[in-house]
Amino acid sequence: MEDKDLQKMKVCNFEDLDGPKSKEELEEMKAPFEEYCKKVFDVGNEFVKPDALKGIRWMSTTMYIFTPHSVTNLAELGAECIKVEMPRMGDPMRHTSPFNECYLYPLHDTRPMSGTGLGFVNANSNEYYITLDYHVPESKPVFYNLVKMSDGLTECYRHGTFDRWKQGYRHIMEVNPRFIYVWGGGFGYGPKIFGGSYDILGQAHAGLASVTGTHEDFGGHATKASNWCIDWYSGSQITTAILAALYWRNKTGLGTMIEFSQVQAATRCLGYTVPLYGRFGIVRQRWGNWDTQLCVHGIIMTGKSDYPDEPNPQLKYEARYVMVSAFQDADFKALCDIIKKPDLFSRYKTHKERVGAPAQIEIYKAIEDWAADKSRSEVVRILKTEGLLAAPVMNDKEVYESEHYRLRGTVRWNDDPLFGDVLIQSAYSCGLMSRTPRKHKWLWRPVGADNVKIYHELLGYPMSKIEEFYAKGII
């Protein structure tokens, strides 16, 4: 082969590539993997790196957590996301807060005594906030203009509402054929088409709550995860669909409609439950803090909290749970020796024997009996000293103080442009990316805070028109 032919086949030049060019350079550049990771992820310096989704503009006509979260994922990855809210009212989620107590002010100029509740946090970070009342005919061209300038939209209105208002996918695709349209809601089309959605409904309707919590035989009940995990999870599932749709559009130039039922998404978390019923006709039961496939592999209660003198009951009484894992034979033997029950091991020598339900009941009781006069940290220390996997069930104070999370920047302080010093996990709870990390810019902004930026600076409406819209209550 001639050199010029070789040159033609080359897709890059070796000299231009990153990395060592000689053996000496290789030695010099060798670093332990951990050091390498620290260097490439460079936690705390995310803002010097580019945004993966820069150039994508997304509209968020969403409410609560589930659908907004699908957009904030894009916003954290660098897309320009525009949250459209009802004038002067805003997303209903703004008006909810833990025990109706934690609000950040203001909500809007016309409502100085209302604030946005902390329930809103994490689902709408980094977005621009505009207002628009779709019910007014004059708002239609404004909406379509925004559609023309955007790559997609996520909405959560009752199924078919946007279609009835002539702003559903069938209408939008005529204005912008590259548009990616997401509807997210409770059930989607089918017998419960008009059913709304809540996280708890997803957990219940999908059967997730029926297999969460302790069995009634042990005093438990069907349990929902206290936090809205199905809202967060389903929102992220939508984001996955959006990224696939963007990739598809790159290849074909065509938009997509995504119709996303939250209760449907929740069934995915059920794991083996559905196939188990299909093959064996078994209806799965709850198994609480233990595991149906591994033993010992669960959470146990110890006798004493690690903070007996704290006034906060969550610390004073509750800091006494330990996750322990010792399912391999050697580990289980060591565990039985520690709790001074060698007979347990002689009776349940194989994993097959000890993973059965009656065996688990006996084994976990024995461990808890042993831990009854010990504190959480004592139990963890003893088990770890013997080489077993054990960890305290931490609370948010301990998550905040955790060296692991601080080192990785998972939980950090942020100087919010409007709300000052705020502690967040936000974008930084979603894994590290070496080239285009997620970023947290702001928690949220007041209702309509970016009206001028979007309507005037982006769409080119004159200020007089914006003032007119505002006076009429359209924005």
Binding site: S97, F99, N100, E101, C102, Y103, L104, Y105, P106, H108, D109, T110, P112, M113, S114, G115, G117, T131, Y400, E401, R406, W413, D416, P417, L418, F419, G420, D421, V422, L423, W442, R445, P446, V447, G448, A449, D450, N451, V452, K453, Y455, M463, I466, E467, F469, Y470, I475
Partner: protein, 161 residues
């Protein structure tokens, strides 16, 4: 779910017949005197974990500590008293409180001692159509908080974590 005081006090030959709602966020653990929104009759109550431990006992001539948040008259075509009517119901303020005491606790510093913004009320800062800028200078917004911050800084009470 919340407890109520259904006032049956007779005044001027008419029964008051008003339901005063004891919203759980305020009254869950609470002891004191509450006035009926309609007739002003003062009742002493003592609630523990949402249960009416003592009362309601009428306390004629005494001053109330608090008003209900909301009251209505279900036998009178559901006429009601919305939150924030002076002398009848207390305002709906959404304020964080000191735990169990029902007192407002406006946080001006974060857990590590740096100033926060966003307490109530905030001055209207918007320009056209509710627009907001991207930065509020705490020193200009609230000089007294800034001064307190500098004091804390000097005392070494401001931490990184």
């Amino acid at each position: 779910m919340c407890d109520i005081i259904w006032c049956k006090k007779e005044k001027d030959g008419k029964v008051c017949d008003t339901v005063n709602y004891l919203d759980p966020y305020c009254f869950w653990n609470w002891e004191g005197k509450i006035a009926c929104a309609e007739c002003g009759t003062v009742y002493y109550i003592h609630m523990i974990q949402g249960h009416m431990y003592e009362g309601p006992d009428e306390k004629a001539g005494e001053k109330p500590d608090i008003y209900p948040l909301y009251a209505d008259k279900p036998n009178d075509g559901y006429s009601n008293y919305l939150p924030g009517i002076e002398g009848r119901t207390r305002p709906y303020t959404c304020l964080p409180r000191h735990i169990y005491l029902g007192k407002a606790d406006m946080v001006k510093f974060s857990a590590r001692g740096r100033p926060v913004r966003g307490w109530r009320p905030q001055p209207p800062s918007a320009g056209v159509a509710g627009s907001h800028g991207y930065f509020w200078d705490i020193e200009k917004l609230s000089p007294e908080v800034w001064a307190e911050y500098l004091e804390r800084l000097a005392k070494g009470e401001v931490k990184d974590w």
